[in-house]
């Protein structure tokens, strides 16, 4: 067995506090070298501190590890190119245990003990929602990479942003035209019986209806379920497409049992890759997925038409053409989501530069500068593709990929347009006091 969680990696990663301190000490040594810099510069050359709220333990641990890797790669690239406003960037990681209570404590710790400039990187929705009040009270800009609709719903507060990954409402909406046109008109949804599933439950039917298709059955499955066959009889016989979202470790079982239930005579399958992030698509039992389609934020497998930026991004993060860690083909990444860490950090860099950010006293300026952003062009900073940003709801909108499982790989067969996923804003954060 290999060390998958990075327990013993601790000394190797460049992100730990101890190493950061070492870096600081080295920097201080340089600063004291005669004639090198004047002392007044010591303050402004202190690193910008980013608090990374990571799911190292708990149910989110598989994601947390890859979020850390992507973040490390982005920070390395940003620092190599001169940092932000001429200052190096330092990341401080705290584990939130994928628990909202601990999440709020960790945000408090970043704000008052580490005194970071921002907090960043949370994935799981309940942790984001649990931590948001702490961030708002500490007036701490909080950049999440969660894909939940919670930020754009404007139910959180002015300090919470999601500028690096499209929210799930927009993702679902932009899938509907393709499903209706290519997969089938009669759709049965299978989704987990918790909030992430409810987004799919609530947003897909109207989106499909607009395309002349319909949802004929909705099957909610408790998140703790480990066996699914007993739910399959509820799938109506006339179903043309099974639209499935199963987040959690049981997804392999789900697919395998679906295969045993239907055999080769199955409806079309369309799913969200969230279920299979960090899971090898060629795992035993997943053969059944061959020929089915998936949403992907950023493609796991290298595509023939990949941009130079995408190639550079993959190399920097250290994933091979199959989306697994370079050197360990079994260590599959969470490619569809983790690009959001990379892009978010570049949004932070841009906003800090726009705001002329100097330190925590400029946090309000940073919020306003972020809200003023309008779009992000595709390129090394945004390898997944171009995006627009709505400053009123603190949410970005990008293109989505639909990939087909073919020969044990995911091949992108369709890219949506940004417009496919736009919707009416539900509120306006900019009216809130800073």
């Amino acid at each position: 067995m290999t060390d998958k969680n990075g327990f013993f990696d601790l000394s190797k990663t460049t992100l730990t506090r101890r190493n950061a301190l070492k870096g600081l000490a080295a920097g201080a040594g340089l600063a004291m070298a005669p004639g090198f810099v004047r002392y007044s510069q010591a303050q402004s050359s202190a690193p910008i501190k980013i608090g990374f709220q990571s799911h190292r333990t708990g149910i989110g641990a598989a994601y947390g590890r890859w979020y850390e890797k992507t973040t490390a790669a982005a920070i390395k690239a940003i620092n190599a190119a001169g940092g932000i406003n001429g200052r190096q960037v330092e990341v401080i990681i705290e584990d939130d245990g994928t628990d909202p209570g601990r999440g709020a404590e960790v945000v408090g710790k970043f704000a008052t003990q580490h005194k970071t400039d921002i907090v960043f990187g949370t994935l799981f929705s309940h942790v984001v929602i649990g931590s948001a009040p702490a961030a708002g009270e500490a007036k701490m800009p909080y950049f999440v990479v969660s894909e939940g609709h919670h930020v754009a719903s404007t139910k959180l507060n002015r300090y919470v942003f999601q500028p690096g990954i499209t929210d799930v409402k927009s993702q679902i909406q932009s899938m509907a035209p393709w499903i209706a046109a290519n997969a089938g008109k009669k759709v049965t949804q299978i989704f987990p019986d918790f909030a992430f599933g409810y987004d799919h439950r609530d947003y897909l039917p109207p989106a499909l209806k607009a395309q002349g298709a319909e949802v004929i059955a909705q099957i909610a499955i408790p998140p703790t379920e480990s066996s699914f066959t007993k739910y399959f009889p509820q799938i109506p016989a006339e179903t043309e497409v099974i639209y499935h979202v199963m987040v959690g470790p049981a997804v392999l079982t789900f697919v395998k049992e679906l295969g045993e239930f239907y055999g080769s005579n199955r409806p079309q399958l369309f799913g969200f890759i969230d279920s299979l992030e960090a899971t090898d698509i060629n795992s035993p039992g997943l053969e059944f997925l061959d020929g089915s389609h998936f949403w992907e934020g950023s493609p796991r497998y290298a595509q023939p038409d990949d941009s130079a930026a995408q190639k550079a991004y993959r190399a920097a993060v250290g994933i091979d053409d199959n989306g697994a860690a370079v050197g360990d083909p079994k260590d599959v990444s969470t490619a569809a989501h983790m690009f959001g860490c990379w892009e978010t950090l570049y949004v932070v860099k841009k906003a800090m530069e726009d705001a002329g950010y100097k330190g925590p006293e400029d946090r309000a300026k940073l919020v306003e500068a972020t809200e003023a952003l309008k779009e992000f062009a595709e390129g090394p900073e945004h390898p997944q593709g171009p995006k627009t940003f709505n400053g009123k709801i603190h949410q970005c909108f990008g293109i989505q990929n639909i990939s087909k499982v073919e020969g044990g790989k995911l091949k992108v067969v369709h890219k949506t347009k940004i417009e496919d996923g736009l919707y009416e804003a539900e509120g306006d954060y900019t009216t809130q006091a800073l």
Partner: protein, 320 residues
């Protein structure tokens, strides 16, 4: 427990409260915020201790009482737009009613069955939160909006999101519950509770209706836990189902065992200790659960009565 040294005991507790008050001016920002949170959670532990420490009933379902306060207060603000004091009252009320119902049912069992039954009722409560996601926000939970978290007295109003106000609110609740606990423990009722813990059969034969006494203890315990939950919702602004999960039923048990069961100040010490063990070790290794696990085992092996319990046993016999 005995008649000796009431003055000493009260002096100790008032001293502890005074110390916490003074600390609010001295502590660095981070520890100031942490202590406010710990005081609220320590109330949860004190509620748990009431039942586990003094009556000897081991429940694995107290997260539902914390959750009743959390959701009672949170939903009152979010869905009904109630003011903070009214919402706090709603939280207490939910806790009291729920604990009365649970007590009436669960107290028909004893020992391991009591553990399992309370755990199952808590699981039902947890699942119900998920099931009624349209109101409760399901697994994601809900934010109590910042503007609503204000305590108004006529013209003046206190912003509960202000760290100082929050600290003082947490300290007030903590002090109140601590003094109530002390009063109960030193009262005749407290003596009966301990007698039930030591030998329920014998207590019955002294003419006590042990069922009613235990029921009252469940309600007091559940209501204190609900107070903690309600305070958590209003002071920290988040209401979520994870607080009603099995894990949050086990936590107060650990806090109480760490600090010392059936000691009035033990719950605070246990909560404090556990928080810092996790906070400090998670800075060095992501495998902090390993350390928590080892700490627990070492604790039961070498300090089975917890920190304060061991101190009482060895040196300070008069500790309440």
């Amino acid at each position: 427990m005995s008649e000796a040294s009431p003055a000493k005991a009260y002096a100790l507790h008032l001293g502890a409260i005074a110390l916490l008050f003074v600390l609010s001016f001295l502590l660095p920002e981070y520890y100031h915020g942490v202590l406010a949170r710990i005081m609220v959670l320590a109330v949860f532990a004190m509620g748990y201790n009431m039942l586990f420490g003094y009556v000897g009933l081991l429940s694995l379902g107290h997260a539902m009482f914390f959750g009743a306060g959390l959701y009672g207060a949170g939903l009152a603000v979010i869905q009904l737009g109630w003011s903070v004091p009214a919402a706090f009252g709603a939280g207490l009320g939910c806790g009291a009613v729920l604990s009365l119902i649970i007590g009436l049912l669960a107290l028909r069992t004893t020992g391991v069955a009591f553990m399992i039954v309370t755990m199952m009722f808590a699981q039902v409560f947890y699942l119900a939160i998920l099931y009624f996601a349209a109101w409760t926000g399901g697994d994601q939970g809900m934010v109590v909006p910042q503007p609503a978290r204000v305590l108004s007295f006529g013209a003046t109003s206190l912003d509960l999101t202000n760290p100082t106000v929050r600290y003082i609110c947490a300290l007030s609740l903590f002090s109140l519950v601590l003094l109530i606990t002390l009063a109960i423990v030193r009262s005749r009722y407290g003596r009966v509770l301990v007698a039930i813990r030591e030998n329920e059969e014998r207590t019955k034969m002294l003419g006590y209706d042990t069922f009613s006494n235990k029921l009252a203890a469940v309600v007091v315990s559940g209501t204190i836990c609900a107070a903690s939950g309600a305070a958590y919702a209003l002071l920290f602004g988040y209401v979520g189902s994870s607080f009603a999960s099995v894990q949050y039923s086990i936590l107060p048990l650990l806090w109480v065992l760490l600090g010392g069961a059936a000691t009035t100040l033990g719950p605070l010490i246990g909560t404090l200790f556990m928080y810092y063990v996790i906070d400090v070790t998670s800075g060095y290794t992501s495998a902090y659960l390993l350390i928590v696990g080892i700490a627990l085992i070492l604790l039961v092996l070498f300090f089975p009565k917890g920190i304060l319990g061991s101190i009482r046993q060895r040196w300070l016999g008069w500790l309440p």
